[in-house]
Symmetry: C2
Subunit: 277 residues, 2 copies
DNA sequence: TATAATAATGACTAGTGGGTCACTTGTCAA
DNA sequence: TTGACAAGTGACCCACTAGTCATTATTATA
C-alpha cells in the first residue's frame, strides 16, 4: 500500500515533466529507488498506474468541489466559493493537472476515456445543480450553454496559471469569473445547446455505486492510513454500512471526521451521496 | 512535392485516429502504399512530419480568420463572422483539429512548443485587434480577460463538436457566442489579467518575416501547384518582391487571386501583412 | 538505344520499451 | 535456529521502432 503511493507520487513527477508515453517504467523505478519487478507487485501494468492516478486525483478534486457547493449556504457566495475551490484544488495538485491538460487522455486506453467522461459528467452535474439553485427558471433555456461557458473559463484560466509560472490571485480571479458568469446567466438569451443535443451526447452515468463497492473502498482506505481518528471513523462507518446502528447525526459527524483526509475524500463523497447529506 | 502531400494526408488520418506517438512510420508508409525508405526522401524525421502538418494547417486556419477579420467592414457583423470562420475553418480540417486538441503538443519536440506558442500569439493578436476595433476604450481594462473568455468559448465548443459527432449549426452557435461576447465586453468590470501579467507571460514574437523568407515560400508554392491563375499570380508576386513594378491595386488583385488556394493561404497572409493591406 | 541521373525499395541495424520469472533477501512464528 | 512465506530483484524475452543504405527500378537525356 505504501509502496503503491510512493510509485504514484514519483511517477506523477515524471509524467508532469516528460509526459506519460515518454516516461518508462525503468525511469519510474529508478526514481523510486526500487527494482523493475517490484513495480509489477503494485501495478499490473503501466495503464493501471495512470488509471490509478487519474482516479486518485479526480476523486479528490471532484469531491472538493462538490463539498463546497453542497455546504455553502449563502447563495451570494456560492459561485465565488465554487471557482475558488476549483482553482485551489487544481493548484494543490498541479502536477496532476498538468498531465491532465497535456495528455488529453484520448489516444490510449479505452477504459481511461470512459473514466474521464465519467468525471466530466460528474463535474457538469455539480455545475448544473449550482446554477439551477442560483438562477432557477431564469436559465431554463440557457443552462447548458452556461455550463459550457463556465467550463470554458475554467480551462483557459487553468492553462494560464499551469503553464506560466506567475504569481496568482485566486480571489481576484474568482471574483472576475463570478461577475462574468452572472452576466451570462442573467442576460444571455440565445441558447445553442438544447436539451436534445445534451440527450444525444450523454451516455448515462451507469455507475450507481453499490454498498459492496463502498465497503471495498473503505477497507482499502483503512489499510492505507495510519492509526488515527480518521481510521476509527472509517471502521465505524464500515460497520454502519452492514448494520445501521447510529443515528444520522453520528454518521454525519463521522463523515466530517474523514472529509479532509486526502485518501478519504472519495468515499466521503460517495457516502454523502448515499446518505443524502 | 506531391509525395510529401500524400504522406501528410495519410499520416493525418492515422494521427487523428490513434495519436501521434502511437502511429509508426511503418503504418504511415503502408497506408500510403509506399516503402519505408521513401518516407525519408520527403521528411528527415517523424518530428519534421508533425511540424510540417502543424505549420500547414495552422497557417491556413490563422490566415482564414485573419482575412475575415480584416475584410469584414460592417462592425455589426464582425464578431459573428469571426466565430463563424473560426469554427468553419476548424471543421474543414477536423482531423487536424482533433490531433491539435488531443495531443497537447507539449511533451515532445521543443521546437513544436515554440511554434504552437507562435500561432497562439498570432491568434490572440487577431482577437485583440478585433475587440479593440469593436469596443475601443470600453474594454481598456478588461480586454485581456475578454480574449481569454473568447478563447475559452472557442475551446469548449470546439471540443463539443469534434468529439461528439452531432449535427451542428455554426450559424446559431456563432450568434450565441456573439451575444455572450458582447455582454462580457460591455458589462464586465473586474479585470483579472492585467497589462503586467501579459508582459510577464509573453515572449516577443521575434519572427519579423523577411523578404527572403517570403521569396522561398513563394518558390515552394509555385513548385507545389498546378498550372493555373494562382500559379501565374504567384510568379508575378515573386517578381514584384525583387523589383517592384506594379501599383498596389494590381498587387492586391494578385493576392486576391491566390487567397483561396489551400497552399497559398499563408504566403497570402504574410504578403498582406507586408504590403499593409 | 545507351547512358546518366533520379526515385524507390525493404532488409537491416541498433536501440527501447513493457512485461516475466527464476532466484535472492527479509521477516516472523514456532 | 529453522523453515515457510512474502517481498524484492534484475537479467532476460520479445515485439516493435526510427532511421540507414546497398541495391533495383524508372525516367530523362543525348
Amino acid at each position: 500500500m505504501i509502496k503503491k503511493q510512493l510509485i504514484m507520487e514519483k511517477a506523477l513527477e515524471l509524467f508532469a515533466k516528460q509526459g506519460f508515453e515518454a516516461t518508462s517504467i525503468q525511469q519510474i523505478t529508478e526514481h523510486c529507488g526500487i527494482s523493475k519487478g517490484s513495480f509489477y507487485l503494485s501495478f499490473k501494468s503501466k495503464d493501471e498506474l495512470i488509471l490509478a492516478l487519474i482516479d486518485h486525483f479526480m476523486m479528490q478534486i471532484i469531491s472538493d468541489i462538490d463539498y463546497t457547493v453542497k455546504h455553502t449556504n449563502d447563495d451570494k457566495k456560492l459561485l465565488y466559493e465554487f471557482y475558488y475551490t476549483m482553482f485551489h484544488s487544481f493548484y494543490k495538485h498541479s502536477d496532476f493537472a498538468k498531465i491532465l491538460i497535456k495528455e488529453q487522455i484520448q489516444s490510449f486506453n479505452k477504459e481511461l476515456l470512459v473514466r474521464m467522461h465519467y468525471y466530466n459528467r460528474l463535474n457538469e452535474e455539480i455545475i448544473l445543480s449550482m446554477i439551477e439553485r442560483l438562477y432557477g427558471e431564469e436559465v431554463k433555456l440557457t443552462k447548458y450553454d452556461l455550463i459550457y461557458s463556465i467550463k470554458g473559463f475554467m480551462s483557459t484560466y487553468l492553462e494560464l496559471f499551469l503553464f506560466y509560472n506567475v504569481p496568482l490571485d485566486f480571489t481576484l480571479l474568482s471574483q472576475s469569473l463570478v461577475e462574468k458568469t452572472n452576466l451570462l446567466a442573467r442576460h444571455a438569451t440565445v441558447p445553442f445547446i438544447s436539451q436534445e443535443l445534451i440527450e444525444m451526447i450523454k451516455q448515462p452515468i451507469h455507475k450507481e455505486v453499490s454498498k459492496e463497492h463502498m465497503f471495498d473502498i473503505i477497507e482499502q482506505n483503512i489499510a492505507g492510513i495510519e492509526e488515527s481518528i480518521e481510521k476509527e471513523s472509517l471502521i465505524l462507518l464500515k460497520q454502519q454500512l452492514t448494520e445501521p446502528t447510529f443515528v444520522p447525526a453520528i454518521v454525519k459527524g463521522l463523515l466530517e471526521n474523514i472529509r479532509n483526509h486526502p485518501h478519504c475524500k472519495w468515499i466521503s463523497y460517495l457516502l454523502r451521496r448515499y446518505y443524502k447529506f
